[in-house]
Symmetry: C2
Subunit: 206 residues, 2 copies
Amino acid sequence: MKTMKISEAVVRRLPVYLRFLNELSKKNVQTVSSQDLGQKLDLNPAQIRKDLAYFGEFGKKGIGYDVDYLIEKIRQILKLDKIIPVALVGAGNLGRALCNYNAYLKDNMKIIAVFDSHGSKIGDTINNLKVKPTGEMKAIIQEQKVRIGIITVPAAEAQHVANQFVEAGVEAILNFAPMIIKVPAEVRVHHADFTTELQSLAYYLD
Amino acid sequence: MKTMKISEAVVRRLPVYLRFLNELSKKNVQTVSSQDLGQKLDLNPAQIRKDLAYFGEFGKKGIGYDVDYLIEKIRQILKLDKIIPVALVGAGNLGRALCNYNAYLKDNMKIIAVFDSHGSKIGDTINNLKVKPTGEMKAIIQEQKVRIGIITVPAAEAQHVANQFVEAGVEAILNFAPMIIKVPAEVRVHHADFTTELQSLAYYLD
DNA sequence: TAGATTGTTAATCGATTAACAATC
DNA sequence: TAGATTGTTAATCGATTAACAATC
């Protein structure tokens, strides 16, 4: 099963499971069934079992899933069992907001460098990180083995930043700019676009 | 066709079309084909034609789509042809960042009120908006006919804010807190969760 | 007219859900 | 043992893509 291709929909649900399991763990809940999970997360229990079964047999028939064991397994699947260094470009309001999530990301992902191309921002300190000029991006990314890049610059600069990330060897990009960026197929891009999100929400108004 | 139920996937693509069409319009491009659109947006042309055809016959055979006409139509479909008042709760970094997008949202959606429950934030001015105490939420939301609510408070407070939104009569919620919130079925909720986004991205690292 | 491109039907593909034997 | 719940197969459902007649 290890070689089977996993659908994007499945991968997107794993972090949702993980978050809820973490809450259960904090409350010292030992065991959870797909039934329970489905109820809380508004998902079909069969779907949850199937999602997990792609990666192994994590449950016990008649019992359910051990919460802490399942957390460990999902963290492994998502590669969150070791620190992933992240860099962010664009020290505007959104960039600052995301840097301050650093604490929230716990021990797995860490924004370890922040860049901006505008002199006025360079040298600022955000959450203990000094904003550096984009000219230093490549060197720092390679030196610190940054694997994920976050783009929070204006739309017009997004593609340029993406190019720099790719050249520096970043493996995946989370793009907050309202602009589709083109990268080589081996680099994974996710879009997190606040405006499209809001606009599609408007559709559902009466 | 007006009564047919449109899938969520279709609705999520419409704002993406809209954004690209706006760029074309700015460049004075008059006409675009599904071929062109598909190329730029990494989508199948047949899918684009089908998406649009759910709502009417907007194109001309042999020619393509008139850019400005299509913009107008998509704006109507998404109900962006009139101003939609939006309120935001949580004047932290993320909330501030989103308020500053106000300009970007052009004339269709407008964050017209910002609330926070912490005394230290109340009275601050963000992008010409004064942060008000959450106690005033209901009155202001009803008075100003706010239709969409944005939640940018910590996870622990998200459900409480959602309840207040629902009670005040908000029709849809965009939730940035990393927490699933429960609302009555008639209220639409979208989750825009930065951490799950980043975590699913990690899966694709080698 | 010839070339291009839509709108739409039919075919394909993939994801979700139901059902149930296995088993704790 | 009886009850509960998994892992997995089969059935269903829905979304994407291909193909093409209509027509600008």
